[in-house]
């Protein structure tokens, strides 16, 4: 970032360069605040009968937030389970109000398996932004018992 001080005749090129220098810097700065933060839900001993209340995380978006990735990570010795993480708008304890579920699953677990959905490049679902002041729910579900399951936004 530098300015060319004007002396004598002010040339058009120098004038443009000085304005362009400032506006370019400002434009870069406008995107500097786009930083990533994670929200994590972990459930130990997730089963098909685990009450919904015990496998959800509710949170209120403090600002407009873009979901960049959804990751599911599962630890188990079996291979038969499919574990799914879903994020949706919620109201109260048990009711999904609006907004289609946005989810990622992991299957074929034998040890630790993880899958990450890149919400910026996926073409099979819509990108999802969380709206400031709205309460959202991150939910884990499974088709069979697993030792541990984690969902990360």
């Amino acid at each position: 970032m530098s300015l060319t001080n004007f002396t004598g005749t002010v040339t058009a090129a120098a004038l443009n360069a000085n304005f362009d220098d400032k506006t370019s810097t400002l434009s870069t700065q406008a995107t500097q605040g786009q930083k990533d933060a994670n929200i994590t839900l972990q459930v130990v001993g997730l089963t098909t009968s685990t009450a919904l209340a015990l496998r959800v995380l509710d949170f209120t978006a403090p600002d407009d937030l873009e979901i960049r990735v959804i990751r599911v990570e599962v630890t188990d010795t079996g291979t038969g389970a499919t574990v799914t993480a879903t994020v949706a708008e919620s109201d109260g304890a048990d009711i999904t109000m609006v907004g289609g579920p946005y989810s990622q699953s992991v299957a074929g677990i034998n040890g630790t398996a993880r899958e990450t959905l890149d919400c910026r490049t996926v073409t099979t679902a819509r990108r999802m932004c969380l709206v400031r002041g709205v309460r959202y729910r991150l939910t884990l579900s499974t088709t069979a018992t697993v030792t541990s399951a984690t969902a990360i936004l």
Partner: protein, 308 residues
């Protein structure tokens, strides 16, 4: 992304003062826009699973300390619990200015949520203490305290925030070069002030209660996660030890030897440089662990990881 200058000047043309002023106004608008967007928000969830009313106060407390020289403001506190019976759980939040905010939630069963929230801003530059309590027998099956934090990047980096109010040129200006220099230099001061302020503070919490084996969490990387500080706390029987670490190369390591179940013990803040990369690549993950020494069970241990 490259900004557009509203007016481009060409050699051989006449410089209209109004064109110059339009560019100055555009600069002022962009500077104000960036200043208005200087806040970074994040949400941190503190698990309460397994907390019992008869736990010691230390076991029912969470120390929430922002690393040295940084500041953050709690803009919302949420308390969510699932517990059998109908007991009133109280969350007391003591901020660093000595103010206390109280939330209450009456349990309504192990699968029915009890919830309370507050949006009273709480400022803290050092330690904030969160204390849960219940007057009678109650076990929280599942629950969490969720804090919404707002950090001001321009406060945290210690640089003043400057606005820019242009003084416009007109047709009678006889020393155009000097006048333009003055305006652009004033704008540059404001631009540089914003450019120097790039500390967007975010925080994560990893907590385990009543554990005797290693606890592990993975945290995907991402934009602006290159530098981190961690505050570690533990409560346990005297002489029991828990070791905290980040498995990422060059990560931190901290040990706490507990002084008893009635005291919250803390480790010195650790700083390290982490991966600052791709959240879809698990190779860039941070891997946080808490490891109790053999044969011991730690009442509760937690770490707050601060990214900037």
């Amino acid at each position: 992304m490259k900004a557009l200058i509203p007016r481009i000047f060409r050699t051989g043309g006449i410089v209209d003062g109004e064109d110059v002023n339009e560019n100055l106004r555009s600069l002022a608008r962009d500077i104000k826009r960036n200043n208005d967007r200087r806040y970074t928000y994040c949400t941190v969830s503190i698990p309460l699973d397994g907390m019992v009313d008869t736990d010691t106060e230390a076991e029912r407390q969470v120390y929430f300390g922002v690393p040295n020289l940084l500041q953050a403001e709690v803009v919302a506190v949420e308390l969510s619990i699932y517990a059998a019976g109908t007991e009133v759980w109280t969350l007391s939040v003591l901020d660093s200015d000595g103010r206390t905010e109280t939330l209450t939630a009456t349990s309504a069963g192990a699968t029915t949520e009890a919830y309370d929230s507050s949006s009273m801003p709480l400022q803290f530059s050092s330690t904030c203490v969160l204390t849960m309590s219940a007057p009678a027998a109650s076990t929280i099956t599942r629950g969490s305290i969720t804090l919404s934090l707002r950090s001001d990047r321009q406060v945290n980096d210690g640089n003043s925030r400057l606005d820019y109010e242009p003084a416009f040129v007109d047709a009678t200006t006889s020393t155009a070069g000097s006048v333009l220099d003055t305006q652009l230099q004033a704008a540059q001061l404001a631009v540089e002030s914003d450019d120097a302020n790039d500390w967007d503070i975010r925080v994560e919490c990893y907590l385990a209660r009543n554990f005797s084996t290693v606890q592990t969490w993975r945290s995907p990387s991402g934009n602006g996660r290159g530098e981190a500080a961690v505050n570690c706390f533990a409560v346990g029987t005297a002489a029991d030890e828990v070791d905290f670490a980040d498995g990422y190369a060059g990560g931190f390591a901290a040990n706490i030897v507990c002084s008893g179940t009635s005291a919250v013990d803390a480790a010195a803040t650790e700083y390290w440089t982490a991966a600052n990369g791709d959240p879809t690549d698990s190779g860039d993950d941070s891997i946080f662990t808490m490891t109790p020494t053999t044969g011991t069970a730690i009442s509760v241990a937690y770490m707050f990881v601060w990214w900037r």
